[in-house]
Symmetry: C2
């Protein structure tokens, strides 16, 4: 498992090199050489003639999708009890469930289901929040490594504003557990990496953020957190951090908000949501190269609002999609693509008629190259990209006239085909499963 | 086929007698006697002991769902090319496709796919627009009758503001074709009924509406049409009908808007959308007992807006759900339930924070008894209701802790389980299919 192989896959190929343009080829070959895409060809070139070919003729082939934001321990209650706003939902639904991960046998049961389902989804790359429990976080990393997917996993840090059974006892204890976690997993995985994960400003004391800053600089870790999701949350941040000019500033003060100094390269940061970011916050998101994880289903389910994604794209900011399990109700990033289009239409109609709705193609770009850039050259079948691909069998979606490949993909996404029609997945040059040829 | 039988089905039963309350029973029996529900029982009562029992132990059993608004000829392009607003979408996407139904062989191909898919959906009762083509409308009615579902099907009337190949040549021609249609199908079907279907005000001259009024009164037909969907459409109606006080008034002037006189019983009307209805229009909708077909996916996809459903419920109006294929992208009414909840949250956040979001239970009620009332005693497994039920196998949705039946149903809906997990359907006392026992 997890070795980078050489092969070609044949089918009806569809991906986006640019935000607003499809690249499609029917009955074509996508070639992978030791894990790296060699590009897409109408005929298999001579130099690859000795590669094994997986024949998916008639099926759709797309790049693996990228999920920039999800909470693995919340998968157990996805799609249930969604009648609450963020802060109540955290207190009544999320925290009680996350507390269970102190029990490793429960964590094993839940994370095994999670990992098996996400393995069989259309997602190839994901950024995951675990809980604050070190042992359960390591167990999640074991399970993710076994899937063959590429993921960043974060042990959560939280030392305030949470129930006793979920709050770490002090900033020092939280930092120490983080260091022990990093020590224990060092060198252990090929495809699973750590990411620093302060839950969000309300959960982290300044003392903890200061300690995380030191760890971040020492270990050169990327950072993931939440930003400007909900108006109640934002008001709470202002109360807790009277010195912060805006929500993001409270992270930036501790170097946890992407690039601090323009000339100094650091690992990037992902901030989920950014629904209510102010002008100043947007500027800092852009200047610091922060990745916005747009989570349209979650922002709808928790009544948070609609993020101004058109604005972010016009500002040339990094934007990817997140399922935000379990504020979002499904791990399907194809669904997130549709959701991103749909909420952008409501945003245009109800909030700002200067914000042109996203097209399906643009939203698909966000789900592939947009979020993929966080991982490097990921999210495309262009030459030089890390080779990840998903094969969709859309033959069950019958139609009375011929469709183009983008039409088929759009229909597949809007029809939730990925809930049952994924027949194979390759990640970083490794076959994860192939239901077509194993029958 | 289509005979009303006596039997019981066993499983985990879930339905709503009231808008905000689940009725659930695990490992229970729903009993059907010659097509009529006898209620739900923990043990099979003695008097039904001789009935055959379909055993769906462990599976979810819900009432068949009701789709108050869909366009059968648009099914061919569902989930595709959704980057247009209503009036452009009609001109560029819808009308060219609908024109194809002049060709019966095309209609046969397309409607056969449509009927087969809708048969295997969770929908038991539906109100369908066909096209203006009489022969193709009759073919659709044949296909729907063969499914065993209960449906109203309408030959569309449109004599203005449409391309030449789709506009009927005159009001008289449209009325004559309608009469011929009614003559040809008279007494032909057990489960498929005609419904008068003026497309919408922009497509119908006053002359045509006057003729349809005469037909409606003569044949006592229910009426279906569109109302206040999109701001551009509404402006166009005001331009075309300067005498109408509001959009609905233009139907009401011809008796095509439900009950005209409070003491005189007539068949009801369904108006799809009602996104931008004015105070006066809402009052008339309520006073006339018009059914509002709430189509949240379509209103989002076509950037129309969000209908104020909480307001309608507080006004004790009739509200059901519609897929609005193909402004809506899927025939799934379970998806429409989730969409109704989701857009109500955005409405609360972005438009009116006095409009409490719908709960999942309330939206499920709309999808069952809410829309079912149009058909009579439909949409419940209570005693006396027309017996329709759908069996969902949610065993593929694994979870690490025990779930209640409503939690399972909510998860199934949000997880698009009905795209692949429907294992049996009964409509009005007839088994349509049973994948569990036919294996």
């Amino acid at each position: 498992m997890n070795t980078k192989q050489s092969f070609a896959i044949k089918g009806d190929i569809c991906f986006c090199k640019m935000k607003d343009q499809w690249t499609t080829m029917k009955n074509a070959y996508a070639v992978c050489e030791t894990g790296i895409s060699q590009g897409v060809f109408a005929q298999l070139p001579e130099q690859y003639a000795h590669f094994p070919v997986y024949d998916f003729t008639g099926k759709l082939i797309i790049p693996g999708l990228v999920d920039l934001h999800m909470h693995a321990p919340q998968y157990a209650f996805r799609g249930m009890g969604m009648d609450l706003e963020l802060m109540d939902w955290l207190g009544q639904q999320t925290f009680p469930e996350e507390a269970k991960y102190a029990d490793l046998s429960y964590a094993d049961k839940a994370y095994t289901i999670f990992a098996d389902n996400i393995k069989h989804s259309a997602t190839s790359h994901a950024c995951l929040f675990a809980t604050q429990h070190r042992a359960a976080t390591e167990l999640l990393m074991d399970r993710m490594e076994q899937t063959g997917m590429i993921s960043f996993v974060g042990k959560v840090n939280m030392d305030r504003e949470a129930p006793d059974n979920l709050r770490e006892s002090s900033a020092e204890a939280s930092a120490q557990e983080t260091l022990r976690w990093l020590y224990e997993i060092a060198g252990k995985y090929q495809r699973t990496k750590p990411i620093l994960t302060p839950r969000f400003i309300p959960s982290c004391t300044p003392e903890l953020l200061a300690k995380l800053q030191i760890i971040q600089q020492e270990y050169k870790l990327p950072v993931q957190s939440h930003l400007s999701e909900n108006t109640g949350e934002i008001a709470f941040v202002h109360e807790l951090c009277p010195d912060a000019r805006f929500y993001g500033d409270a992270y930036d003060a501790y170097g946890l908000f992407g690039r601090q100094h323009p000339k100094e390269h650091t690992y990037p940061a992902i901030m989920a949501h950014c629904v209510h970011s102010t002008e100043e916050e947007i500027k800092l998101l852009r200047d610091n190269g922060v990745f916005v994880a747009h989570c349209p289903a979650s922002n709808t389910n928790l009544s948070s609002g609609i993020a101004p994604i058109r604005r972010y794209l016009e500002n040339h900011m990094h934007v990817g999609l997140g399922s935000d399990i379990a504020g979002g109700h499904t791990e399907s990033i194809l669904r997130a693509v549709c959701d991103a289009v749909q909420v952008s239409k409501l945003y245009w109609r109800l909030v700002d008629n200067g914000a042109v709705p996203l097209t399906f193609c643009e939203a698909f770009y966000l789900a592939t190259k947009g979020g993929g850039a966080f991982f490097g050259s990921v999210g495309s079948l262009e030459r030089g990209y890390d080779f990840s691909a998903v094969v969709l069998d859309d033959s069950s979606l019958r139609h009375p006239f011929a469709l183009t490949i983008p039409q088929r993909l759009e229909r597949a996404a809007y029809s939730a085909l990925d809930a049952y029609g994924i027949c194979a997945k390759f990640v970083s040059g490794t076959l994860l499963f192939d239901r077509t040829h194993s029958k």
